[in-house]
């Protein structure tokens, strides 16, 4: 029993050190958006696009300025 308790204690200490080393932020697979090798933020519905329903689907009244362009400069990037 004594040995078992020590094993458990040792495990807890090692896991605790792990938390301390990573600033208590431990990546959990699938729990967030991985970006640059590590989770960056939690995945949630705010990130969902509008899909087919976006814009009502029919595009009535669609408008876009075709080129912010050199009328003033660069709407694009690169």
């Amino acid at each position: 029993m004594k040995t078992t308790r020590k094993i458990l204690l040792g495990s807890l200490i090692l896991i605790g050190l792990q938390f301390a080393w990573t600033g208590c932020v431990v990546p959990v697979g699938g729990a967030g958006v991985i970006y640059g090798g590590n989770p960056w933020f939690q995945d949630d519905v705010w990130l969902d696009g509008g899909g087919r329903g976006w814009y009502g689907g029919n595009g009535g009244g669609a408008y876009v300025h075709p080129n912010g362009g050199n009328r003033g400069g660069g709407g694009g990037h690169r």
Partner: protein, 299 residues
């Protein structure tokens, strides 16, 4: 007591597994926005865009097939980040989402250039926005954050580590313009003025009085247009990509699993424009300069 040293490797393995090997994970290095680096910064310019998608393979196939982009995968364990390049220059990224299924349509998020990410986040919060992805340094790209505006539309902020590129004319396959569609463009224009520092002016080339152009340093960076009425519409930024031939591009869309949401139409400056849905539910605009002339030159 003897069993402790013998079990040490096992305990260490258990601890590492419990932590998901965090200390062994090295952040993937992103390519810098500009190679070679430039010294100028252009706050307010849309300098990058990421597609957040639950179907990375499908999205990669769609965009590479449609625009001739090439994809370079950066290793991130089991969830790779993809850099799309157009004619050899990085133009966009793809970040996989942890959720799956068509109920989570993909979304493009454009990143505005900022010169001080911390100050930019403060300004967003003061203007009524919310921080969803905190500022983080991504070598060699720079500091990034993702926020939502007062209408909960996501936007990115990017303090580039390699400066911001000149405002050159975009080529086919490049982002050409960004437009925000919202219910109340006037309210939104106030947010973008306060949060990002845009100069806001009514769109003088349109009959729609509620449309605005966002500029910095005299350069038009994007526009704000009203969403049509309806319960199913959703405010969103729309990135518009220049194509050489709009009809040819649109003809490929259904075969790649996409859909034409807004049929091609003539717009200002002698251009044609359409909106498509990609095979994963992301929306993107397409524009063709007629006669391959930069419509801006007709002004």
């Amino acid at each position: 007591m003897k069993s402790i040293p013998r079990l040490a490797p096992v305990l260490a393995a258990v601890a590492l597994l419990a932590g998901g090997f965090p200390s062994l994970v090295h952040a993937a290095k992103f390519p810098p926005l500009n190679t070679p680096a430039v010294t100028e910064h252009r706050p307010g310019k849309l300098v990058w865009a990421d597609l957040f998608t639950a179907d990375p393979d499908g999205a990669t196939k769609f965009y590479c097939s449609l625009f001739g982009w090439t994809a370079t995968t950066l290793d991130q364990k089991d969830k790779s980040y993809t850099v799309f390049s157009n004619a050899g220059s990085p133009v966009a990224g793809l970040a996989p989402r942890s959720v799956k299924g068509a109920s989570h349509p993909s979304r493009w998020i454009g990143y505005f250039a900022v010169t001080d990410i911390a100050a930019a986040l403060d300004a967003v919060i003061k203007a009524g926005g919310t921080v969803h992805a905190p500022a983080r340094n991504f070598p060699d790209r720079g500091y990034q954050a993702i926020v939502t505006d007062k209408d909960t539309v996501p936007i990115g902020l990017l303090q580039s580590g390699s400066g911001d590129s000149p405002d050159d004319e975009r080529q086919p396959g490049d982002w050409n313009w960004f437009e925000l569609y919202v219910k109340n463009p006037k309210d939104s224009s106030a947010f973008y003025h306060d949060a990002i520092g845009f100069d806001v002016a009514p769109e003088s080339n349109s009959n729609r009085k509620s449309e605005f152009v966002l500029s910095t340093a005299g350069q038009a960076r994007g526009g704000i247009a009203p969403l049509p009425d309806g319960d199913d519409v959703k405010p969103s930024w729309l990135g518009v990509i220049r194509v050489a031939d709009l009809d040819q591009t649109l003809a490929k869309v259904p075969g790649l699993g996409g859909e034409v949401l807004v049929a091609p139409r003539s717009v200002e400056f002698g251009s044609r424009f359409a909106i498509i849905l990609d095979s994963t539910g992301g929306t993107v605009g397409l524009v063709q300069y007629l006669d391959n002339a930069n419509p801006a030159n007709s002004q």
